[in-house]
């Protein structure tokens, strides 16, 4: 296979008259940072447009404005003939735009399979079943993804993820395709295949405009028209040839550097690598038969190599071939399944702390603390690696100067462009002056100038400081700079040697060709043969009625699409659903049996200072009660005090001296009781019991003395609805609404905010789905889950607790349905307000548990509360659900009896969901 140019240069003699994108005076600011500074730009239609420039110059910001994902702060953005600030135009035009954000598979759902991801996007754009099938088959056949339809997107290699992302973008035949660094972090073979695919599609669909931001200059060189950007401004536009002519250069890499302003260019000079002077036997890293298995899958298969001290050793291989795993085994992060490795002659042992100090590791994903400033990150790592305290400031300064981070010292890494973050990662990995650096794709997504700067540092470290460097990369020019390198594929090392010798061995013209040759030999070309030919005029690519549903009105299909997707995700994580269902049953058991209000076996003791027959009779009367358990008599006040204090006694009774005599004489006497008021609800019960007993004793005395029962009466207390005064029939109807509130709210809260944290929220921004379709669609499966939950709990109430539903079950079911909508709505609200999962979880917890248990009238009726708490209790849906549940379970009531509680419940559900929808944003701010 040969690597072809991305596309044949289009005839530029007649550029289309109306630009596809027209930008005037656009500014974008994030806080104090100015990402775009007054951009004016017209992008011609029907071409392949390349956007090049260093990191953090505003390429991504501009692309997200064009795609409609981000709010236009200032200026004018016209795309496909309309104003992107106009909501109506965005809705009209978004089915004609496809946007693939930066990052591998950022808009995909990792737990969904390839097929399901494609189905999801197809449905969102309103295609019917057969139409979707046809388009998916076409696209997957063309991209060679068809054998992997059932594989979860998260388990695809980087290149395949990007192909899938492209398929998802193309499924609705866009007129404008926006790709933000689609090949960053993708291996050369997959990259070549990716561009072939785009070229094929453009062949069949000539009018499509494609805008690509890229860090690979060799890719950009093949585009029709270029936009060079720097520092929020456009430096130059034109065909590559025009750019070369203007700058007097022959390659884009040079042209790009020539275009940069003076002060940025100054630092740049070509990377020169002095020859390596290493002792043949001075080995820094040695691996023998290193193997890693995850279940059946062998990620690394008997890999062996030796790396000399001070050598720069490169790892080149396709995505997912085991490079990162090998590196992790060397650092001790993963224990090897088989084989051994030595660092500086010592066997790798994850518990060996001292070796770790000699190693600096930089992982593929950015993994520094985003909440610490650049300086704090450096200092923290210096301290953890036990750099002597007095050396730390000097060391930090040295690193900062070396990596050119001085002006961002007090900033948070999250606000830095990718290239700068990579430099910081490297600085952090080196702050303790390690003897060995293990760098996993350190330059992915870094612009050419910064990359060269980075390599000059590496060379200096290797040659001057004799630091051994073990590096993996996707850039061929970087691999060429290594002293030796290994080609890796599918867990195996294909060959290791000096790069030039590898090229010679294959007789290739350059390293890329050699590498692809090795891969193809190893069976790494995953494309099926027919993939090369897209059928001419294949409808998926050739503008049939491709935009069937563009209306801004509520679309049930799109809403159901989200519901379907959410259901799939729930299915893929069965633990989550099981926890929700089993959890509620367990909790119901615990709380149902655990929380009762009948209090008995209260401990008491008597201080009898009289000792008469009558006083003994009084004490005996109390000890006869079921409620009280007598403890040893109290000796004196101190004894009473101590025993109350340590909680031994709940009640102390003092019968005064001369009690019997005074009572007989009809004199006024007084019995003293002291009880523990620390827990007021228990104290009240104690008080009630003792007063009752006292009264009973008095009545007895009267009867005994006078023989008459005049003045006596009996108060017949009928406990309604729960005649035996059992706790269960009272508790169970309360526990159900409580659990029905907390668990669904928590699940829903995370469902939305997770998309924000992981990045797939972008699909809300750039597809025709509206906020209400999105929210309601996501909510539906959780309402369903909550209802299953409800039914299970009702069954448990009936069969395990023996608490029957005395009233109308349909009424209860209706109330539960409305209530579940409110409960999940509260989850939506929590996630609309927050940006991180922790905060959403916390908010959902505060918003449900506390109000429901204290304000909702669970233990104390709402009517007896006051002030703000009363108001909250009155409007909180749980209060009304408690009333309905109690009414139906215990009081045998039906709908008409409970209409008064249904009304507020029915109002709260749409209000909560509506507010949540309003708080969600359809565009990034």
């Amino acid at each position: 296979m040969t690597v072809t140019a991305a596309s044949p240069p289009s005839p530029l003699a007649s550029p289309p008259s109306t630009p596809v994108v027209s930008v005037r005076g656009v500014w974008t600011r994030y806080g104090k940072t100015e990402a775009l500074r007054g951009i004016d730009l017209d992008i011609p239609a029907g071409l392949m447009i390349g956007m090049i420039g260093p990191d953090g110059v505003g390429k991504s910001s501009l692309l997200s404005l064009i795609s409609g994902a981000r709010v236009v702060q200032e200026g004018d953005v016209r795309v496909l003939g309309g104003d992107m600030r106009d909501r109506r135009h965005r809705l009209d035009v978004c089915p004609r735009i496809a946007y693939m954000p930066q990052g591998l598979g950022k808009n995909l759902y990792p737990t969904l399979s390839v097929e399901e991801n494609l189905q999801f996007f197809g449905r969102l754009f309103g295609h019917d079943g057969p139409e979707r099938r046809r388009r998916i088959d076409e696209l997957t056949r063309a991209t060679g993804l068809d054998p992997f339809l059932s594989r979860p997107a998260g388990k695809l290699s980087g290149g395949m993820k990007q192909k899938l992302g492209l398929c998802c973008a193309l499924i609705h035949d866009p007129d404008l395709l926006i790709l933000d660094e689609p090949t960053t972090g993708v291996d050369p073979l997959a990259r070549a295949q990716f561009w072939d695919l785009i070229a094929d599609i453009r062949k069949t669909q000539g009018q499509m405009s494609v805008i690509v931001a890229t860090a690979y200059m060799d890719e950009a060189q093949r585009f029709d028209w270029l936009v060079a950007m720097d520092d929020g401004n456009v430096l130059d536009t034109g065909t590559p040839q025009e750019v070369f002519d203007r700058t007097g250069t022959t390659s884009l890499e040079e042209a790009f550097i020539a275009l940069l302003p003076e002060e940025k260019k100054r630092g740049h000079r070509a990377v020169v690598i002095p020859p390596l002077e290493a002792e043949e036997n001075d080995i820094a890293i040695e691996a023998q038969g290193l193997t890693m298995r995850f279940g059946d899958f062998t990620a690394v298969d008997h890999v062996s190599f030796r790396i000399r001290r001070g050598e720069i050793f490169g790892f080149l291989g396709s995505n997912g071939c085991g490079k990162s795993t090998t590196m992790k085994m060397l650092t001790g992060l993963l224990p090897a399944s088989e084989g051994k490795a030595w660092l500086f002659g010592k066997e790798v042992d994850s518990s060996d702390i001292s070796t770790r100090r000699r190693v600096g590791y930089m992982s593929q994903a950015f993994s520094l603390y985003g909440e610490l400033t650049v300086r704090q990150n450096l200092e923290l790592h210096a301290r953890l690696f036990h750099v002597p305290r007095e050396e730390i400031p000097a060391r930090v300064t040295e690193m900062v100067e070396r990596f050119d981070l001085t002006h961002v010292l007090e900033e948070l890494p999250e606000s830095l462009p990718l290239g700068m973050r990579q430099r910081l990662s490297l600085a952090v990995a080196m702050v303790h002056k390690p003897d060995l650096l293990i760098l996993d794709e350190p330059t992915s997504g870094v612009d050419p100038v910064a990359r060269d700067g980075f390599w000059r540092l590496l060379v200096e470290l290797s040659r001057r400081d004799k630091v051994t460097i073990f590096i993996s990369t996707h850039f061929m020019n970087e691999a060429m700079r290594c002293d030796r390198m290994s080609m890796m594929h599918a867990g195996k090392v294909l060959d290791s040697d000096v790069p030039q010798r590898l090229i010679d061995k294959r007789g290739a013209k350059d390293l890329e060709e050699a590498f692809i040759g090795y891969l193809v030999d190893a069976g790494g070309d995953t494309r099926s043969p027919q993939a090369h030919s897209l059928q001419e005029g294949a409808p998926a690519m050739s503008g049939e009625p491709s935009h069937p549903d563009t209306g801004g009105a509520f679309s049930l299909q799109r809403c159901l699409t989200y519901a379907w997707r959410e259901t799939l995700e729930l299915q893929r994580d069965p633990v989550r659903a099981t926890l929700a269902l089993a959890g509620s049953l367990i909790l119901m058991l615990v709380i149902g049996f655990g929380m009762t209000t009948d209090i008995n076996e209260l401990s008491y003791a008597v201080l009898d200072r009289d000792g008469s027959l009558l006083s003994q009779n009084y004490a005996l009367d109390i000890s006869g009660s079921d409620y009280f358990v007598e403890h040893a008599p109290i000796r004196d006040y101190d004894d009473l005090d101590l025993r109350l204090k340590d909680g031994e006694l709940a009640l102390g009774i003092e019968i005064p001296p001369g009690f019997g005599r005074d009572v007989s004489a009809g004199r006024q006497v007084s019995i003293g009781t002291w009880f523990d008021g620390a827990n007021p609800s228990r104290a009240e019960t104690v008080q009630g019991y003792i007063q009752g007993l006292h009264q009973h004793w008095l009545t007895e005395q009267v009867r005994r003395r006078t023989g008459s029962s005049a003045g006596t009466f009996s108060l017949e207390n009928r406990y309604r609805y729960n005649p035996d005064v059992q706790s269960l029939p009272a508790m169970v109807p309360l526990v159900i609404p409580l659990l029905l509130l907390m668990l669904p709210a928590m699940l829903t809260a995370l469902a939305v905010v997770r998309e924000k944290e992981i990045g797939s929220i972008i699909n809300l921004y750039v597809t025709p789905v509206t906020r209400s379709e999105f929210m309601l669609g996501k909510q539906a499966p959780y309402v369903g889950l909550a209802l299953i939950n409800f039914l299970l709990m009702v069954l448990m109430a009936i069969f395990i607790f023996g608490v029957p539903v005395k009233g109308s079950f349909p009424t209860l079911l209706l109330a539960a349905t409305i209530y579940c909508i409110s409960a999940t709505g509260m989850g939506l609200l929590a996630s609309a307000l927050t940006r991180s999962q922790i905060a959403a979880m916390f908010l959902a917890m505060i918003g449900t548990m506390i109000p429901a248990t204290t304000l909702g009238g669970m233990t104390d009726p709402v009517s007896s509360m006051e002030g703000g708490a009363r108001f909250m209790g009155e409007i909180y849906p749980a209060s009304h659900m408690f009333t309905i549940s109690r009414g139906v379970f215990a009081k045998a009531l039906g709908f008409s009896d409970l209409a008064g509680s249904f009304l507020p419940l029915a109002i709260s559900a749409p209000v909560i969901v509506g507010v949540a929808i309003m708080l969600l944003k359809k565009q990034e701010a």
Binding site: V590, M845, T859
Partner: protein
């Protein structure tokens, strides 16, 4: 040893910085320890408050009128006078918790000693209010009847009254106890969220991997989270006790606050460990959320903070002895309200410490064995 302590200290400081840079979390922490404590403590009505009562008076005698006029706010709402037909609908709708039914000829029967009977209907689904309320009503009716009868007859009833004194909280002000229960709940909730969810986030963002290649041990990583997040919660609760509970709500504190916070620190040791333990079980944040509710809700409901422990089945009482919050509720009550000293509460301290050590050890073992899978 020194390097170990310094690592623990450094990593802990890092945790504090992370929290400091998350304004939403800070606001929420402030909220739960101030507004939330205040409102929910005050929401619990003071003893019997505004109980809804209705009276059917068929007797319409001086005695029955005496009884009717003896129910008044704030314990009761002004009684609604109703006819017997209104009893059932009114109770069904939950309009009245109590209906007192005085039958025809009640006064006559009382004076004649002919087994007079008065009927009280109580809505038993109203739980606590039903039980305390019906006791109250019985007192009131008794008192009125006795006084009435005594005026008509010689003094035959013994003159024994019951002097009732509630120790430690003389007015049985529920907001005191409510505030304590709230603070204890918040301590448990926050410490679990802060450590557990933060660990899951580190895993989801890949920063845990970074820690693992550095010369630090899992013990140090875990210890750092325990002390830093424990400190945050301890400080927040100290501020809450001093500013909200003491200054704003005027709850008198009987015992020694330092002793109370020493107990809180011990509890935090175990709850933060619990958070880490949960995080090692859950594979992602939604699972962690579910697990957390599963743990927190029983802790809140069954520790004795919302209903007295005596009323729970023996099995539940025994199981809950393994929960640190149970001992915390006990020692909190003893120290804050009963003014108990260390000589009294040392068993709770010992139990809490023992539970903390066990939780920490289990969490550490689990953390060690799963940490490599986290990277």
């Amino acid at each position: 040893m020194l390097t170990r302590l310094s690592n623990i200290y450094r990593l802990g400081v890092k945790e504090l910085w992370s929290l400091w840079r998350d304004p939403i979390m800070l606001v929420l922490i402030a909220f739960v320890f101030t507004v939330s404590v205040y409102t929910s403590a005050n929401s619990t009505p003071e003893t019997l408050h505004n109980a809804a009562i209705a009276i059917v008076d068929e007797d319409d005698s001086p005695l029955s009128q005496r009884i009717v006029s003896s129910f008044y706010p704030p314990q009761f709402v002004v009684p609604r006078m109703i006819v017997p037909q209104q009893i059932d609908p009114g109770m069904d709708a939950g309009d009245f918790t109590f209906v007192l039914h005085i039958p025809y000829g009640f006064q006559r029967d009382v004076l004649a000693g002919r087994g007079a009977e008065i009927q009280l209907n109580t809505d038993a689904t109203r739980m606590s209010q039903a039980f305390t309320g019906s006791g109250y009503i019985q007192q009131i009716v008794n008192g009125e009847v006795n006084e009435f009868v005594n005026r008509y007859r010689a003094n035959t009833v013994p003159q024994v009254d019951l002097a009732i004194r509630a120790r430690f909280n003389p007015t049985l002000n529920k907001s005191w106890f409510g505030a304590l229960a709230q603070i204890i709940n918040q301590i448990a909730m926050l410490s679990i969220i802060l450590t557990g969810a933060a660990l899951i986030r580190e895993r989801e963002h890949g920063t845990i991997e970074h820690l693992l290649v550095m010369p630090v041990t899992p013990f140090e990583i875990m210890m750092s989270k325990v002390w830093s997040m424990g400190l945050v919660v301890l400080l927040a609760s100290a501020l809450s006790v001093n500013l909200v509970v003491r200054a704003l709500m005027h709850v008198p504190i009987a015992g020694s606050l330092p002793l109370f916070f020493a107990g809180a620190a011990l509890v935090l040791f175990s709850t933060t460990s619990m958070g880490i333990f949960l995080a090692t079980i859950a594979r992602n944040m939604p699972q962690f959320g579910m697990l957390m509710i599963l743990v927190l809700l029983p802790l809140q409901m069954l520790s004795g903070g919302s209903t007295p422990r005596e009323s729970m089945p023996q099995l539940v009482q025994d199981v809950m002895l393994f929960a640190p919050t149970t001992h915390f509720v006990e020692l909190g009550q003893a120290i804050l309200f009963r003014g108990a000293g260390f000589d009294v509460v040392w068993p709770q301290f010992a139990a809490t410490f023992a539970i903390g050590v066990v939780f920490f050890a289990v969490a550490l073992a689990r953390f060690r064995s799963t940490i490599s899978a986290m990277a």
